[in-house]
């Protein structure tokens, strides 16, 4: 059996907002994340996919205890992160790092590459010797494919892909067990995306890292994930093994997301039909009753408008929140 590093149970993050003007006392609740559960093993990658506003980034921050959950627990190696005092939590943070979406914006423009990568070391080990810092910075740079002679340069001297390598080196320098990657390749050119994904995959194998890889489109996570979770309006709609999810998704929303990815093949693209998905995502402030997806779902029945579908386990071991999961066959046609 593999070692479980993280267990998330019924996690919810709600934000209280004030309605109307500043002086209004009427508040209401935005449910950014609602009832999300999953386990994560050592060396495993969980892909999290959903459209903008579905709560993926809020979830990422809650996993790292950067936001307090309103309900539920995040267990790291068996310990509830939100029950730890500040000092104990700080120690745990060494194990858990994050890589952000916009690589240039996430790096301080006035710091050199050395200082950027070394900063976590100074933070956690204020008494660390200079030689040791240099050695570990060099090691981290080598792992991500940066050259030693680039150590004194500033972020603006690098391209987007290289900046993301610096961000990854900064995450690696503390030898973490988990890296949460929040849309790490969305801002990069396709040709460079593949480089970064391959790098993360190689590092994971070498270091037995666990990865949570967040993206807004299913094509990117396919190549790196072992399992994929699909989110919609803060809820987990499906959590399946990678191959099963891309072959025969269980939730109509997953199927729509797969079909919406444009195919770089002119004959197939010309023959492609509409995804059948109309409209925009409803406002998370005012989610529809019943299944949150029902307004856009082509398989809507009466029950979907009345009753919230629970996330339940299918025979295959995959999870889905859809009343009609058993009767729908959403197999995706494959070419080549």
């Amino acid at each position: 059996m593999k070692d479980r590093v993280m267990r998330v149970q019924d996690l919810a993050v709600h934000f209280k907002l004030r309605e109307g003007g500043l002086l209004s006392s009427k508040t209401f609740t935005l449910k950014a994340v609602e009832g999300v559960s999953f386990d994560l093993d050592a060396g495993e990658t969980l892909g999290i996919v959903g459209e903008s506003g579905c709560g993926k980034s809020t979830l990422a921050r809650a996993l790292l205890a950067l936001i307090k959950p309103s309900r539920g627990r995040v267990l790291w190696l068996g310990e509830d992160l939100n029950k730890l005092d500040e000092e104990a939590l700080r120690k745990k943070r060494q194990d858990m790092q994050i890589v952000f979406q916009d690589p240039l914006a996430a790096l301080n423009p006035r710091m050199t590459v050395r200082d950027i990568i070394a900063e976590p070391l100074w933070t956690f080990f204020p008494k660390i010797a200079r030689v040791q810092v240099d050695e570990r910075v060099r090691g981290a740079m080598k792992m991500v494919g940066l050259l030693p002679n680039q150590v004194n340069r500033y972020p603006h001297e690098f391209s987007g892909g290289q900046c993301q390598r610096i961000g990854i080196a900064r995450a690696l320098v503390l030898n973490p067990k988990l890296i949460v990657c929040d849309e790490p390749v969305s801002a990069l050119d396709v040709s460079i995306q593949a480089q970064i994904i391959k790098l993360l995959k190689d590092l994971q194998k070498k270091l037995n890292l666990s990865l949570v890889f967040i993206a807004h489109d299913l094509s990117v996570v396919k190549h790196i994930s072992d399992r994929v979770m699909v989110m919609y309006l803060g809820r987990s709609m499906e959590l399946s093994q990678r191959d099963a999810l891309y072959r025969k998704p269980l939730h109509p929303y997953t199927s729509a997301l797969i079909k919406a990815v444009p195919v770089p093949d002119p004959r197939l693209a010309r023959a492609a039909t509409d995804t059948g998905l109309t409209g925009d995502m409803p406002s998370p402030l005012n989610p529809p009753p019943g299944c949150v997806f029902h307004g856009r779902c082509p398989f809507l029945i009466k029950r979907c408008q009345l009753e919230v579908p629970a996330l339940r386990r299918m025979e295959s071991g995959d999870w889905v929140a859809c009343h009609r999961a058993e009767e729908l066959d959403l197999t995706i046609a494959k070419s080549g």
Binding site: V190, S191, I192, A194, K198, L218, P262, P264, P266, L268
Partner: protein, 320 residues
């Protein structure tokens, strides 16, 4: 006569570090009803090509060569003359819908301004037309939406408004710069579907700038691949996707994550990074990243025209 014929287009910028050559000797032409895609990595000169043609370059930029729109050279026109074509016969959909819509004006005002100016329509007529188009781009409840300000709309809706604005003047040439880049996949699919439908109806020529090879495959007839300011390959969409000749085009196609292929298909990255435009290498500009580079590549390869006007800039495949 071609609708748009671009000949020997150069676009450069004066910077404190020296002259940046964003576009070099670019040639292409477009007939009514054609759709041409400009593809390439960021910094390859796609956007600056159309900015140059439309006289929209930054202060320190300059364009030379010819851009003949219905026989008249756009590059020789002053801004008054250009304005007779821009916004009426030629419309542009800009990349970022948040920064290209005026935050102080209601959607209504921004949409009808253009048609009232160019089409000589009365306010009420222009408004009716704007509402019709918002409905055509499948915005629900357009009568209400048209009264709102840009910040009240979602990103997808703003982009749909931009598309509707681009079509409002019934242009003969529509230029769309990454019209779907910032959007979610499901909205992306909606917008693409919409553009191809509207194109069938109006027979407008379209130039689509995109790095998304999936969108290009579904929407365009011809593709021009750019690298470091140069055209490296040009052909029909089928030629480019099924028989790519230039190693860069092949690399771009292989690096796209594919859902339509077997699960174990690997994506292959193009190694290295795009070159610095301030100090371009001599010879073939792609050779540092090219897996097939050989001795001859230190010379500049000429553009060769193969079968059915499929052109590519590479020494490989030169008949000896």
């Amino acid at each position: 006569m071609a609708l748009l014929e671009v000949k020997d287009l150069d676009v450069g910028f004066d910077t404190p570090e020296g002259e940046v050559h964003a576009v070099n000797h670019l040639e292409f032409s477009l007939e009514a009803g054609d759709t041409l895609a400009l593809v390439g990595e960021s910094g390859s000169g796609k956007t600056q090509t159309v900015m140059g043609i439309l006289g929209l370059l930054a202060e320190n930029g300059h364009a030379s060569g010819q851009a003949l729109f219905k026989g008249k050279d756009l590059l020789q026109m002053n801004s008054l003359e250009l304005n007779q074509h821009r916004g009426s016969e030629i419309a542009m959909i800009f990349q970022d819908p948040m920064t290209s819509l005026n935050p102080y004006l209601r959607i209504e005002k921004q949409m009808i301004e253009v048609v009232m100016h160019h089409g000589g329509l009365k306010k009420a007529e222009a408004r009716t037309k704007a509402v019709e188009l918002l409905r055509a781009v499948r915005i629900a409840d357009p009568e209400r939406i048209i009264r709102q300000y840009p910040h009240e709309l979602s990103g997808g809706m703003r982009q749909k408004v931009m598309v509707a604005m681009g079509l409002l003047s019934e242009p003969e040439l529509l230029i769309a710069d990454e019209p779907t880049a910032a959007l979610d996949v499901t909205v992306k699919a909606q917008i693409t579907h919409l553009m191809s439908e509207l194109r069938k109806k109006s027979n407008a020529a379209i130039i689509l700038i995109s790095h998304d090879l999936g969108i290009v495959a579904g929407l365009c007839d011809r593709v021009l691949v750019m690298y470091a300011g140069e055209a490296v390959e040009c052909g029909s969409v089928d030629q480019i996707y099924y028989e790519p000749k230039h190693p860069y085009t092949q690399g771009l196609l292989n690096s796209v994550p594919r859902l339509d292929r077997p699960d174990d298909t690997e994506m292959v990255a193009i190694p290295g990074n795009p070159p610095n435009l301030l100090s371009l290498p001599g010879g073939c500009k792609f050779r540092d990243r090219c897996p097939k580079a050989f001795d001859a590549c230190t010379q500049s390869p000429p553009m060769q025209v193969g079968q059915d006007l499929h052109a590519y800039r590479c020494f490989l495949g030169v008949p000896t």
